[in-house]
Symmetry: C2
Subunit: 672 residues, 2 copies
């Protein structure tokens, strides 16, 4: 940190005064974080526990306090709700202070982390007046961790939670992680994979609950509630019943008992996350029941304790016949859940993936946003880069998420964004929020690719405040991580901001998706999913490519959107280029809005994308000596791998389409 | 068995007279098999150990005996060599007998099994005069079994040898298996995977040798010698050395010690089977040595004990760049080993896969046969149906193997067949033979698909006597397995004989190979290996398909054959249709010798193949009630799976080529 700025900060941060109406572990934690954070930034520990009467200080308040008189009004404080805060510079001349005030201790904790971020990003403290409340009530992380220590779709080492079928005993890493979550404003975590295998089914049993509770304690200290993914067939697998029928009284009793047991161990337990009737997971369909029957049954068990059910909408026919062009996986979530709108209990939230397929580099928003009016919703994003380079490739996802959040569903006229639908604002739902699949593991840098940290960080920031721009988030993360060297900041910020477009350039074109190797999903394979049961096709032949999802001549998927959106996607003329092949089957000679033919667009973007990655390597090399050697080398080696692999993508995609279309590249570049 | 025939047999089989110059466990075993086999067939145990003087009997002789005077001459006996035998009806009127005579006890054992086969197939015993010697000296089975109990490319359950990292303690199944091997004339077995993983590396150590020796004992009782696959890097992994360089004295000492230890436990140990410098296995290349250096080093260690080294030629670049059309995996084995011809020790045998690629449904014979003049060779076949339906599909492989064995290399003019090259006859080599990868596991019926037993059986029979026809083998196996109901015999025989052609019809066309799902190799995936590192391409584009392997314009692979063969493959006109795409890249409109275009051939064979499988199901249904219900149902369910899966093959292949070529099926059938 610049010594001059450090000196200024030090003058503010000599002491921390804590005010609360009652003793609070969260507030103590907030104070501890301020002391530790300031101490490590400025090299000088502030004094904690003094009073505000001896010169400049930081005042940390939870709830009203006499010290806030004339600084934050009671009504203003109350309006902050359960998680908001005010950061305000106040005090008499000569004895100014910075107030970090929440209506609750949780708000004060988030305020403390915000204050630290101000220091990290070099902000002026003289005239602070920040009032913040999170946009989303539920700000959740889903861990797809298995108890054998593996992480489904994990690219950053092994699980920090489990090893060899047990919860780890050395929980230092979990503690650090809980801090990290709170620092970016997240408040909920499901600690096991939505694909609940045999061992994990037992997490809700008396045998394992004590160690789950120990983990919950760690997260509670940072204001994060713990959730568990549950196996819908638990009554059979663990309970010894012959059925898991949600309407069966024995099954209901089973779940009621489990809920009671869970809450005995974890009084503030968040609830259950459920993947049911999806990709071979058990669910209510087996018993001729619907998803509302299944979710409401679990909700009933959790209701006495204030718990909720997060029920995933990722339900589709995964034994589809590729010959059948009428069935459309994109339709599935809407077709399954739209008819149930209004039938779910108030403590059920439907978790809806951002797009209708599965976390592809480009998809339209799911039509369930704006399609469900009487049902709580949570938007599901994927931080872990399953289809976006698996943390070997740089792909900063905030711009993608921004597009999703800002997508206008027109459900209640213009401005009915996905963001408003997910938070519950659009239809005044009591619950709502955003969830995302974690990208962290036990790698030293958490995320494998160091720059992939920006996705986790950015997720938290965006969920708190969706109006933040991708630029702001990239800038913040870069400064916090690498400091304020302008060359470093501008280079890394630019790399992050360009990376999604670059990745899209050299992978599957124009919204068509997939074209990856089946199973592990890394690397190009144009026909990898073409003749499969997964409902993921591009229908390329020697004439053209794309999926006709129109009402007029295709699967009718466009009809799931509200009129204004539907008609935009329905017509080739108004459908945006970047989603053209998602919605339409067109000849390779079709001319895009860019003026290029589809085939030339494919060639051009793929040559360009691979070149862009080479440039990423070059600009990163320009930072040598400006950042520490370890981090420099680690990122460089990832970028070099990306550069090699981008060429593989380029060549496979281009060769596939040259061979298939027989149309030469206008520029005569080498295609194999 | 027909009661009339049984009565006739019974008259011959009242007693078994055993004659040997010295006590012999093998001869005792032969007698035991005769007693047990005859007893179970006729329901009446023969008396063993009598003399030939009391009426009809079976005379079992190892070596000369006074009882053979005037029946088998001493010179004739000697000419049988180590494994041959005579079956001859002889004796005075009223006191006739059947002599089963070998020059050795091993020959007598094989003769005894032959005699039992005569009974099983209902042959007349009155005028027997059979003289047999095996064509191949080494008649080997390779097990790709791992000590965790898995079997690489196994489709019939788990390993019969291993479980949980150990050799099984209940060895009943191994005992049965040793009998089975001897019954079909096999004399060598390698009991662990050529991909030698960590645990299996220790099979040659004092820790594990006692239990390996116990397994060797079981096989020895049936005349089968045991071999082990070894890890070339053992000196490092087990021996604590820093190198496995074959010229390093410490390394040589390591292997000499291991050999001594192995022979201490197993005095008749066969030798080492080695996969080196192949598919990421370690080998001499690491140390700048060649395969002769590596193999000869091991041969030196084994020589004092009469052991041999079986060294695989399956060596190729498995990190190939698919963009590079000059490198040709088909060339690899020849390019690696031809220059080393004559450099291998006398107790080294090179194991050469039948074709230049990897056990595809159709390949030309490897040019190493006839290409190596001064080197011992063994032909490697694959009984396990890795690429031929994985024992879910019916594919009787004897016709394929017959084509390979009969392939004329012209190395020493016409008649220089692969069979003669492999046995060593062609160039007068001291060692030679045939090896094959087992298709058995711990499934109750050994092979998963019951009818896949015919491949194992047929392998043994063919290796003993390559001039047997596929028809004879199919007939024999069917009668032995299902009895003599003419409807049953003719149906199953026909099914077996047609099955390879049927399988070829609906899978990859015209010798091009691959087009399977990567990794597990089951099911269609036309581009599955097209953009991979494995050297396995078809180069299909919208105009045509095939690999140009000619000298004139391609990879030059055809030049590895002797002139007569080379020129046949080099020219599109003389290249056989079924290998056209293996050797040539042609337009879809190229007209085959059949008069059809390539594209129409693809469509026609795929429609036909799928229909043929439906007919297999139908004719099998016609056997209901004629064979026992369990076996009927088991085969039916496999055939039904095949029928479904053949349609998947048909539709994927046809759709791929319709989409790619844009050329419609002349018959307007449904293609997707």
């Amino acid at each position: 940190m610049d010594p001059e700025i450090a000196e200024k900060y030090a003058s503010w941060c000599r002491s921390i005064v804590v005010e609360a109406s009652a003793p609070s572990p969260l507030l103590a934690k907030a104070c501890e974080e301020l002391v530790g954070g300031i101490g490590s930034m400025l090299g000088r520990m502030p004094l904690a526990g003094g009073t505000a009467d001896h010169g400049r200080c930081v005042l940390l308040c939870a709830g009203n306090s006499s010290k806030l008189h004339g600084v934050v009004e009671a009504a203003e404080l109350e309006a902050l709700g359960e998680e908001g805060y005010v950061l305000r510079t106040a005090g008499e001349p000569g004895r100014p202070f910075v107030a970090i005030a929440g209506h609750t201790d949780r708000g004060a904790l988030y305020g403390a982390f915000h204050f630290l971020r101000l220091l990290q990003t070099g902000q002026n403290l003289n005239e602070l007046n920040i009032i913040e409340k999170p946009a989303a009530k539920l700000r959740m992380i889903n861990h797809w961790d298995n108890m054998d220590g593996s992480v489904e779709r994990g690219y950053a080492g092994r699980s920090i939670f489990y090893r060899d079928g047990k919860i780890v005993t050395d929980r230092k890493r979990i503690h650090d992680y809980a801090r990290m979550m709170a620092a970016v404003g997240l408040n909920a975590i499901a600690i096991n994979n939505v694909n609940v295998h045999e061992t994990e089914t037992n997490l809700i049993t008396s045998e394992l609950l004590p160690s789950v509770a120990a983990v919950a304690d760690i997260f509670r200290a940072y204001g994060v509630r713990l959730y568990l993914s549950v196996n819908f067939a638990s009554p059979i697998q663990y309970g010894g019943l012959t059925t898991a029928d949600p309407l069966d009284p024995e099954v209901r009793r089973f779940w009621a008992e489990r809920a009671a047991d869970v809450y005995r161990h974890i009084p503030d337990f968040g609830g259950f996350l459920v993947k049911a009737d999806s990709e071979f997971r058990p669910g209510p369909f087996t018993y001729g029941r619907d998803h509302a029957d299944g979710a409401n049954m679990l909700a009933e068990a959790l209701r006495p304790y204030g718990g909720i059910v997060v029920w995933r909408c990722f339900v589709y026919d995964c034994l589809q016949d590729w010959r059948d062009r009428k069935t459309d996986r994109a339709r599935a979530a809407f077709d399954h859940f739209r008819p149930l709108d209004g039938k779910f209990a108030d403590n059920v939230i439907l978790q809806i993936k951002n797009g209708p397929m599965d976390f592809q580099v480009r998809e339209p928003a799911s039509p369930l946003f704006g399609g469900l009016r009487h049902t709580n919703q949570v938007l599901e994003l994927q931080i872990t880069q399953e289809y976006t380079g698996q943390q070997k490739h740089l792909c900063f996802l905030i711009p993608q998420w921004k597009e999703i959040l800002d997508f206008d569903t027109y459900a209640r006229g213009e401005g009915s964004t996905v963001s408003k639908a997910a938070t519950g604002e659009l239809f005044g739902r009591p619950l709502g929020g955003i969830a995302a699949v974690s990208n962290i593991g036990d790698d030293a840098n958490w995320t494998g690719h160091l720059l992939a940290q920006a996705n986790y960080y950015g997720y938290g920031r965006l969920v708190w405040r969706p109006e933040l721009t991708a630029e702001q988030i990239a800038d913040e993360w870069t400064r916090i991580t690498f400091g304020h060297d302008p060359a470093v900041v501008s280079t890394i910020r630019r790399m992050l901001l360009d990376s999604w477009t670059i990745y899209e350039n050299y992978t599957s074109p124009l919204g068509v998706g997939w074209m990856v190797n089946p199973g592990h999903h890394y690397g190009p394979n144009v026909d990898g999913y073409e003749y499969s049961k997964w409902g993921t096709y591009h229908y390329a032949d020697c004439h053209g490519i794309g999926v006709d999802r129109t009402v007029k001549s295709g699967t009718g998927y466009t009809g799931q959107y509200h009129d204004k959106v539907a008609s935009r996607f329905e017509s080739i003329e108004s459908c945006p280029d970047e989603l053209l092949l998602f919605f339409h089957h067109v000849p390779y000679t079709h001319v895009l809005k860019s003026g290029k033919t589809v085939i030339q667009h494919i060639y051009d973007t793929h040559f360009e994308g691979a070149e862009q990655v080479d440039k990423l390597v070059d600009v990163w090399r320009g930072l040598e000596g400006r950042i520490d050697g370890d981090r420099y080398a680690s990122v460089l080696s990832r970028l070099q791998e990306q550069s090699k692999h981008a060429k593989e993508w380029r060549d496979v995609i281009n060769s596939y389409f040259l061979r298939k279309s027989g149309i030469a590249d206008e520029q005569g570049r080498t295609i194999y």
